[in-house]
């Protein structure tokens, strides 16, 4: 598919992903016939339902056998398979630059690149929106190799930006997405959980299948023992002096509550939520997508 060696889509990843197929059970809107079930009813072989005939309907769709038994006109309706739009939201805020050997942004970029590759390999379309406090770039959905190249190039140029505002970005992005499909948000979710889900509301109402991947490093989950240090916030530059021994337990408690709040809200809104630790391989996240 591509001859150039990209940073976030390595040949070994491509080989590893050979056995994967991105096929989440999501109902999508599509222009092209594909593997995904569409709410748009039409001519296809997948029977969906009967409905009563109304003037103007195509008589060819009338089920005459039912008419023969019931003396009423019913039309057979079918689901036709369509291509899927996968919208990738990649958090590119400054906090995503955190990580000792592998930053969260790099980890998320690997995952995003491979996901985009899988989507396009499956004949579906993928869009990418890196964001920090708002949408930094929008690459509309596409399913070609050139589109993938463009996506990968963008990922390589992408650098940690300013502070995170996922809710704001989601609000700005909503008008840009013409078709419903799958919305995958890869972020560290350093935002108010309630605001995030408020912003996700329109997407969910429109029928998007939403996947949230909460990228965290082990150092963020378990505060490392560094003694007395001044923690400098990557996004705000604010400094907080504390002894890691003193605050570790409280920190663990606070981050745990944040994760629990996100998980709880996701469960209630039928959103798929996954904590992605950067010390686990991102391939494992694909299993989450096909469940």
């Amino acid at each position: 598919m591509t001859q150039r060696r990209f940073q976030y889509l390595r040949p070994e990843d491509i080989r590893s992903l050979a056995g994967f197929e991105f096929a989440p059970k999501a109902v999508v809107e599509g222009y092209f016939a594909g593997r995904h079930v569409s709410r748009s009813r039409g001519s296809s072989i997948e029977f969906r339902d009967y409905r009563q005939y109304v003037p103007g309907d195509d008589l060819a769709l009338v089920d005459w056998r039912v008419y023969g038994r019931t003396d009423r006109f019913y039309l057979r309706t079918y689901d036709h398979e369509t291509s899927m739009d996968c919208h990738l939201f990649l958090d590119s805020s400054a906090s995503m630059g955190f990580g000792r050997d592998l930053s969260k942004l790099e980890y998320a970029s690997f995952f995003t690149a491979c996901l985009a590759y899988l989507v396009i390999r499956g004949g579906d379309r993928v869009s990418l929106q890196p964001f920090d406090k708002t949408i930094r770039t929008f690459i509309p959905p596409g399913s070609t190799g050139a589109h993938l190249n463009g996506l990968l190039n963008l990922l390589e140029r992408n650098r940690p930006g300013e502070r995170t505002s996922l809710a704001e970005s989601l609000r700005h992005s909503f008008p840009l997405l013409k078709r419903r499909g799958i919305l995958i948000v890869v972020s560290d979710f350093f935002d108010d959980p309630a605001a995030i889900f408020t912003a996700l509301g329109p997407y969910l109402h429109r029928g998007f299948k939403v996947f949230l991947f909460h990228v965290l490093t082990p150092a963020e989950l378990e505060l490392e023992d560094k003694g007395l240090v001044a923690f400098r916030d990557l996004e705000t530059g604010r400094r907080v002096t504390a002894h890691t021994d003193d605050v570790r337990e409280g920190y663990r408690h606070a981050i745990g509550r944040h994760i629990d709040a996100l998980r709880d809200l996701a469960q209630r809104r039928n959103v798929d939520y996954t904590v992605a630790r950067t010390d686990t391989h991102f391939h494992q996240l694909f299993e989450r997508l096909v469940q």
Partner: protein, 677 residues
Amino acid sequence: MSVLFLNAVLWPLAILVAVPLIVHLFARARPPIVDFSSVEFILRALRFTQRVRKPKDWLLLVLRTAAVAAVILLFLRPMLFSHGGGGLFERRNVVVILDASASMGWSDGSQTRFAVACAEASEILAGLSSRDAADVILAGVEPHAVFPALGGNIGYLQGEIRRARLTSEGLDPGAALRLAVRLLNGAEGRKEICIVSDFQASNWRGVKPRLPRDIGLTCVGTARGESPNTAILRVEVDPARPLPGEEVTILCDVANFSGTPQRKTVVLAVESARSSRETVIPPWGRATVLFKQRIDSSAPFTLNAALAEDGFPGDDRRWATVDPADVLRIGVLSFGKGGETAAAWSRGCRALGWARAEPLTLEALANPETRRDVLMLSGWDGTEPDRVRGFLERGVPVVWYPPVGMPLSRVMTVLTNAARSGDAGTQTVWEEDPEGFQLKVAAPDHPVFRAFSAGEYGDPARGRVRGRLAVAASQLPPGEPLMAYTDGTPALWKCRGDLPLLFWNIPLDKGISSVQNQGEFVPFLGELLLETRRGTSGAVRSARESLPGQTLTWRPGLEVRTDEVRLKGPDGAEVPLRLLEATGGTLVSDSLGRPGIYEWTAGERVMCREVVNFPSAESDLRPMSGTEIKGLGGLTAVSGRDVREWQAGIPLWPRLLWIALALLLCEGAVVASGRFA
């Protein structure tokens, strides 16, 4: 209390105390900067923990600073002088008064008080350095110091303490303290007296050491716990000098120095004969056991009373010598108009046979060597009352027929110490009755009249007296009338109390009285002389007795060569003697050791027996209370080690090491509590 730092040169290290504070402040000010994705959750954690962390931080700072301070002080090698020390480099002069009196022999089952005292004294001396000087006084009746002056040979003193033996002596605390002060006089440096004693209350109570201001006093008590004891305090013979054929009463006073009643058997051995009596002695009380013994001959003999041995055996045995008299020596002193009465007394004594009236002069009365069994004073006007009182105090009965016109009450008061109010200046008045005054027996149950109760010897009150002293009972000391006139005027008045004084108001002058001519007069006089010797403690006190620590003296007669005379102790060992030429050849012994019978011998003959008894004051083993010991004016130490530490200082570095470790442990615990919380 003061502290001296042996490594004071390291004081600059004290600045290191500031290290934890500096580290605390600077570590807070410039911690390393670590980039973090979001400090929001750290801030939440801080808000949660800050309430606890702030005080904990201060606590940690205090603990760390204290730990560093303890370590620094440790290297400075501080010495604590808790009681006026600090003169570590000053020469010390220490006199240890080691109580070697009999009470120190009490054993609590493992070791005696004396053994404890020796160990404590040795410990005190061990705390002295080579430049210090010391001496040890072994305190008994007469204290003696190991060195004539303070010396530096501490090892020798410790050896002397090891060789020291407990005595059976009493204790003279004042003498020991005076000797200690004398030894310390003129010494340069610090001066200290350390008393190691059981501080037996009977010896020490009331002692008020008056020490020079530059002499310190330290008291180390060795008495621990209860010390129950029973003792024979007194063995007395009444009368002290019985006549052959006379029955004497032997009194054994036993005491119980414990809080529980004690049933004890007193065994009395008179020569080879033994008898015993059982008695119950009340808690902290006394009992008197009586034995009766008839005296067969005029030969002197010894007797010995014993109790079953207890934890303090020294006072469970007591001796007495009895020296019967061939005749009673009656000293008759006549003054003025009392000559006829004195003569009548003398005639009566001669008629008795066993009594010998010996005329007495005022000069002889004043001589302390004069010895009489009974003193009869006729017409004595009260001159030299102290001499007469001396006789009374020795238990010699005094029969006094006062002259006319003397202040009777005043003299009686001097003699008996019995104060009478009102008529102290009233003089005696002579009164006469041509018909004569009739006598009567006022106390028929008194032993004097026992022989007359059956009528065999007639009526002792027979006879009439035409003149007498007009004396009222109120003018006489408290007592009882043995005989009185029919109108109630006392004729023979026995004063009550310890002193055997009889007031005689029966003139025996020819032409005035017919009493002396009656046949009953002689037996009455005899009974009076015999009975007045009985029942007085004074009579008993006249018995000769010495105490351990004292010396015995004996003046051999011309028939004995001085160089033949030996003094043998209870164990048969000879006691060294020295001859005092100045006193005409009196032999004086060394200080006496153990109690018992000591015999003066010349060749094979026993010339004289002397009794040395355990000092009664040592039997009550109760020590003074801590407050009372403090009242002596010095420091009170529990052991010699305390004294040693007070003198040489207590090295504080081991304590500081423990404190530092404890502080670090606490610091670790505080830190760990944060982690596990």
